[in-house]
């Protein structure tokens, strides 16, 4: 993977509004900091190569390299990425109940992994007044505190970076596809550092179509409701076209047409809906609010699921064929849309001195009926 | 009144804020005043106290008082407390005949500290200073001053060195008279040691150029 420095990160990502605020570039140096859901560069840094750039999920992401690192093979461009199996799941009877987004699969898996000491600590994401706050926890009992989806840009990866500094060796992390792309990049030791250690003990991905800018959402919602009272946000499947906000005493629906302008530009070039670089990926199951879709990708993931099932933390079932087809279509569409957009924006497979956000083999683009990105030459 | 080598004789004392420039130029001015010369001292201070360059122009003349600034290219002697400042002054006031006495201890500016500029080696500075002047003396007064107990004696040594060149009538007893106006007897003693030390530095130094 190509690695540049902070100035390129500033020019190619931050200044081009491609930053998703994942925090991968923060907590490793004093120059990039995350505050209220946004990442900024505080002072200029002159390094030619830096971890900030190497970690960023919006700069020089070579999908082939990630795929061969995770799965030992080239990127195939299939809608759901590489996986062993797709099932549906929900928290089992042993799991403490909570304010789960869907079936509570994520919370159950993290609780179980912490209890079994498969991981020493977990990076989970909370929010305070709609401002995302990643935390590092070590107690299984704390996991449910983080239940429910925070539909905002969150610097979750910053806490993973911090966990490394604090000396944790096996850390579990729950994240969106972009956040887990950063984690995967981090795990490849992109700068070939001698002192490098892979401390990602477990990666649980969340499905994601898009997210919202934390500050914009805060501004929008606080003009309408008391944000301190929000319990849950949800986006029911089409054709609903609304964002439902459940508060302590009410449930309101807000039209997506008012919500969509708050989607970060970075999401438009994101080809990943199902968190392809995770051990397991979890999403909702259309029409069954109490259930999750669960994609088991790695051997580690498969082992975790069978143990969790055996100990009563998880219940699984067969994935209905119709739901599977629906999911594949949605994921495939997002992928094609993203590659097209990236090409249009001039940040796909850039040649010569050009800096790309994404790199994917031209054959795959052809298969997906997207014209070759070869004419993206350096825009210096 | 002994006739001056040049009328006016243009002497520059240069250094960095906090090195004691103003004090040195005052002492020299007062010494030469006793001889009956006309003295004008121009100095740049104010904001330059904060790490910037500081320069005193001394105009020493026989009848009329001259302006507080030496005209371009017309210095006769530059006493520098810092090598880069010596070069800087040469840029404005230097000429092929000018004499230079330079304390070789560098003081790095923020621009050097932060890596925007590189600071030349002492050898390089010496070569340039010799080449740009008619005669140059390189001394290590900071070092000697620290040995004497305080880096501030460096100024006094440079006054001694200037006296040692014999270019201006800066007699030892005049020096004593002038500093005795400000300092107590025991301090005068220390300063005389510094003055003598500076004088010997120039006398012992193999002259360049």
């Amino acid at each position: 993977m190509q690695v540049f420095g902070p100035n390129e990160l500033l020019a190619d990502v931050l200044k081009k509004d491609l930053c998703i605020g994942c925090g991968a570039c923060t907590e490793i140096c004093p120059y990039f900091k995350s505050y209220k859901g946004r990442t900024s560069m505080l002072f200029s840094c002159t390094r030619q190569e830096g971890r900030c750039h190497a970690h960023c999920p919006k700069a020089e992401v070579d999908l082939d390299e990630l795929s061969s690192f995770m799965f030992g093979k080239a990127y195939e461009g299939s809608p759901l990425g590489s996986y062993q199996s797709v099932v549906i799941s929900k928290a089992g009877p042993e799991m403490i109940p909570g304010n789960f987004q869907s079936g509570g699969t994520v919370s159950a898996l993290m609780t179980h992994a912490l209890m079994e000491r498969q991981i020493d600590a977990a990076v989970l994401t909370d929010w305070k007044g709609l401002i995302p706050v990643p935390e590092l926890i070590t107690e299984p009992g704390d996991v449910t505190r983080f239940a429910s989806s925070k539909y905002v840009t969150a610097p979750t990866v910053s806490m993973f970076n911090k966990s490394k500094q604090l000396g944790y060796k096996r850390v579990g992390i729950v994240g969106t596809p972009c956040q887990l792309t950063a984690i995967a990049k981090i795990r490849t030791n992109p700068l070939d550092r001698e002192d490098f250690e892979d401390t990602a003990g477990l990666t649980v991905g969340l499905f994601c179509t898009w997210t919202l800018d934390a500050r914009d959402l805060l501004k929008y919602l606080s003009a309408r409701i008391d944000v301190e009272k929000i319990k849950k946000l949800d986006i029911p499947p089409p054709p609903a076209e609304v964002l439902t906000v459940t508060t302590v005493d009410d449930e309101i629906e807000l039209p997506l047409s008012e919500i969509r302008p708050m989607i970060p530009r970075a999401c438009s070039v994101c080809p990943d809906m199902t968190a392809e670089w995770a051990d397991v990926s979890v999403g909702g199951l259309e029409g069954s609010p109490g259930w999750n879709t669960l994609i088991i990708r790695t051997q580690k993931g498969a082992e975790l699921i069978s143990k969790a099932e055996a100990s009563g933390f998880l219940v699984t079932d067969k994935m209905p064929k119709e739901s599977f087809e629906h999911l594949s279509m949605a994921a495939g569409n997002k992928k094609a849309r993203a590659f097209r957009q990236a090409m249009e924006d001039g940040c796909l497979n850039n040649k010569d001195d050009g800096h790309a956000a994404l790199r994917v083999s031209p054959t795959i683009l052809k298969e997906m009926n997207i014209e070759s990105g070869e004419d993206n030459v350096g825009d210096t | 009144m002994t006739p001056l080598k040049h009328n006016p004789y243009n002497l520059v004392i240069t250094g960095v804020g906090g090195q004691g420039n103003v004090m040195a130029s005052r002492v020299i001015g007062n010494m030469l005043s006793i001889h009956g010369y006309r003295i004008t001292i121009g100095e740049t201070f104010g904001a330059s106290q904060r790490g910037g360059s500081v320069r005193s122009d001394l105009r020493i003349s026989e009848e009329i008082a001259f302006s507080p600034q030496i005209p371009k290219g017309r210095a006769h002697m530059i006493v520098a407390m810092e090598p880069a400042e010596a070069i800087r002054v040469l840029g404005e006031l230097g000429n092929p005949d000018v004499k230079v006495i330079c304390n070789m201890r560098p003081i790095h500016s923020v621009n050097v500290i932060c890596g925007d500029f590189t600071y030349p080696s002492a050898e390089q500075h010496k070569e340039w200073l010799s080449d740009l002047s008619g005669q140059a003396w390189f001394v290590n007064t900071t070092e000697a001053a620290v040995k004497l107990g305080n880096p501030i004696f460096s100024n006094i040594m440079l006054i001694g060195a200037l006296a040692g060149t014999g270019d201006l009538p800066l007699e030892r007893d005049l020096f004593e008279t002038v500093i005795a106006r400000w300092l107590s007897a025991d301090k005068v003693e220390k300063n005389l040691v510094a003055f003598d030390k500076g004088m010997s530095m120039v006398k012992d130094d193999k002259r360049d150029g």
């Binding site: 004093p30 | 904001a47 302006s67 890596g115």
Partner: protein, 651 residues
């Protein structure tokens, strides 16, 4: 004993221009002196404050120039001799009061010394004060030598008492801050009793009420005084001519430009062709004296700083007498012979004079010029001004910069006047984005803070020094609070007027004469005004940033007082709180994760980058032991060991 008191009549002393002025004031028997510090004027009051007790005079650093003028005027109205000092900007501040004082007139002698700073060595502009004399219709004097600077003060007091009017004296940097020989006169024994008379006839300037009305009476009276001044100027002993009887070129000059003119004539060896009329009385011009000299001259060159003030007035005069003496070519700034910006120098004047007389100035050889310029480029690296080691402003601006960048809404800081103005430069984070006059940062912020209705979402901050706070910061804050402006005023309280040399101000428990004075608590003042106030120590970096983040969340006008004594202050110098060291094992230097944050960005001169070991190092001579760098190091490699007050390590 202070330098300006030493010596008896006839002794010669080497004085700085400002010391000469101070000695002059003593020789004139001044009683009351008030001013506001500002380079290049500050040493006048500094010198006088040191001898105030000895000479039994009253000296104060006033809260601002307007109040200084009022305090001095009170002395005059009570029959005493009073002097007021300020830098040129101060005249703008004081001018409203002075406009009225000119009309009411004075009683005891009152002299205002205002110092201009051509080339803006220590200022943000090079505006001049001379035009104020014209606008206010009061006489102006410009000393052209160190001796004049001293002797003129007494003459000015006498003139003031004769006219019963304020007299302006103009200093410039090259006179105020340069030194030359001065022959002393006696220090008189004065015994003046102060009393303010107000029981006389209303129109009697000496005994009635003091008021600028009725204008139909007072304005013509003022103009009569000015005419009388012009008359007295005809015989002023501080005007002099040197040169041939009928010079080809007559240089008319004043102030420090007298030196440059003398030197230019000398450089070109034009003693037989050029004459110099040193004019001390530059407004109103003495008509007969001017006429006498214009008559004898071929051409005239006017040499002055900065604008063609004298030149224009001379031209008006020359026109009025053209029928008698014919039309004389008057060269200067209006025709471009000399520039109307920047300061004059001997070379500049010589160049102009050479052009007029067809002579030339010796130049350095091209070869030397080329060589020396090249070596300056490589051999004399730039020396940007920076905050001192251990300066609280560096710490304060560091925190502000970090917070505003993290906040990421293009927030900005309106700057003000003080050492912290250096925060405009990239060497000091470039945190400040505006800089105007005293107190104006907060006034601007008050305005910016109301623009949210027009869609402005940027956070607005101002910084203001403690002295500036009292000077003009308070009304700006009152305005912001009253109008509910969204802004944060950060008061950088370093306990003194550090920029100009630690003059006391109302926040300090000491006055100019060293007596105990009631200090005014800035935070309490702000609270009383109605602002939400936080007080922090800028050396506590985390707490400071936390406070800023919190204040950014609040509506309305807020104040953050960052209190920490200036590193140069006498009380702090040489006393280290911490012994600092760098753990070279932990320092990551240029590597990813730091890239020399401390030496490249934070840039305290006490920290040095060691090229050989590739780690940071503490320069223990420069380091003041403030400990701030320890909290910015991302690798925790900078250690601080607490020291007791005696400099020993705490056990």
């Amino acid at each position: 004993m202070s330098a300006i008191l030493k010596g008896k009549k006839g002794d010669q002393r080497l004085f700085m221009g400002n010391e000469a002025i101070a000695r002059g004031a003593l020789e004139a028997g001044v009683n009351v002196v008030a001013g506001y510090p500002g380079t290049p004027s500050s040493e006048i009051i500094e010198s006088l404050s040191r001898v105030a007790k000895d000479r039994d005079i009253y000296v104060e650093w006033s809260v601002n120039e307007k109040v200084a003028a009022e305090v001095a005027a009170a002395g005059s109205l009570a029959g005493l001799r009073s002097m007021c000092t300020m830098k040129m900007n101060g005249v703008h501040v004081a001018s409203d009061f002075l406009l009225h004082l000119a009309l009411t007139g004075t009683r005891g002698g009152m002299v205002i010394v205002a110092c201009d700073d051509p080339n803006a060595h220590s200022s943000q502009n090079e505006a001049e004060m001379r035009h104020f004399a014209q606008m206010l219709e009061i006489p102006l004097l410009e000393p052209g030598s160190f001796q004049d600077a001293k002797d003129l003060i007494k003459w000015a007091f006498e003139l003031s008492e004769e006219l019963r009017s304020i007299v302006f004296i103009r200093g410039t940097t090259r006179l105020s801050h340069a030194s030359g020989q001065v022959v002393l006169d006696e220090l008189p024994e004065t015994e003046r009793k102060a009393a303010f008379r107000h029981d006389g006839f209303i129109l009697d300037q000496m005994t009635g009420s003091v008021i600028s009305l009725p204008i139909a009476f007072k304005h013509p009276q003022l103009q009569e005084k000015l005419q009388k001044a012009a008359e007295r100027y005809e015989g002023c002993p501080f005007n002099s001519y040197t040169g041939p009887e009928n010079p080809d070129v007559l240089i008319i000059t004043s102030s420090a430009c007298t030196f440059y003119s003398i030197e230019a004539v000398h450089m070109l060896d034009l003693q037989n062709r050029a004459g110099i009329l040193k004019l001390t009385t530059t407004w109103p011009l003495p008509k007969r004296l001017i006429k006498k000299h214009l008559q004898t001259a071929g051409q005239i060159l006017v040499v002055e700083e900065v604008l063609p003030f004298m030149e224009e007035n001379l031209k008006v005069l020359a026109y009025e007498i053209a029928s008698e003496i014919g039309i004389k070519p008057i060269l200067g700034k209006r025709d471009g012979t000399l520039p109307s910006h920047g300061e004059m120098r001997p070379d500049v004047v010589a160049g102009a004079l050479a052009g007029i007389t067809g002579t030339s100035v010796d130049q350095r050889s091209e070869e030397y010029e080329k060589k020396v310029n090249e070596r300056v480029f490589f051999g004399a690296p730039a020396r940007d001004l920076t905050f001192c080691p251990g300066c609280p402003h560096r710490a304060s601006l560091w925190s502000i910069e970090n917070v505003l960048q993290m906040d990421n809404r293009q927030g900005f800081v309106c700057g003000d006047v003080g050492c912290y103005t250096m925060g405009l430069s990239p060497s000091n984070f470039g945190t400040l984005k505006t800089a105007h006059s005293m107190g104006s940062g907060t006034g601007l912020a008050s305005g910016f803070g109301k623009l949210d209705r027009f869609g402005m979402e940027q956070p607005v901050l101002s910084v203001c020094g403690d002295s500036t706070f009292f000077h003009t910061g308070i009304p700006a804050l009152v305005n912001a609070v009253h109008h509910g402006s969204n802004m944060i005023m950060v008061v950088l309280d370093n306990s003194g007027t550090a920029m100009t040399g630690f003059q006391p101000h109302p926040g300090i428990e000491k006055n100019a004469m060293g007596d105990v004075a009631k200090s005014i608590d800035i935070a309490k003042v702000c609270e009383a005004i109605g602002a939400k106030v936080r007080v922090e120590d800028p050396f506590e970096v985390e707490a400071t940033q936390e406070a800023l983040f919190q204040l950014l969340e609040e509506e309305g006008a807020k104040v953050l007082v960052l209190k920490q004594v200036c590193a140069l202050s006498p009380e702090k110098k040489w006393s280290k709180k911490f012994e600092m060291s760098v753990d070279t094992e932990l320092c990551i230097g240029e590597e990813c994760g730091c890239n020399r944050l401390c030496t490249r960005i934070f840039r305290c001169p006490g920290l040095v980058w060691d090229q050989e070991s590739k780690t940071a190092r503490i320069d223990s001579i420069l380091c003041t032991g403030c400990g701030v760098c320890a909290s910015i190091c991302p690798a925790n490699a900078i250690r601080k060991t607490p020291l007791a007050a005696n400099g020993k390590e705490v056990a």
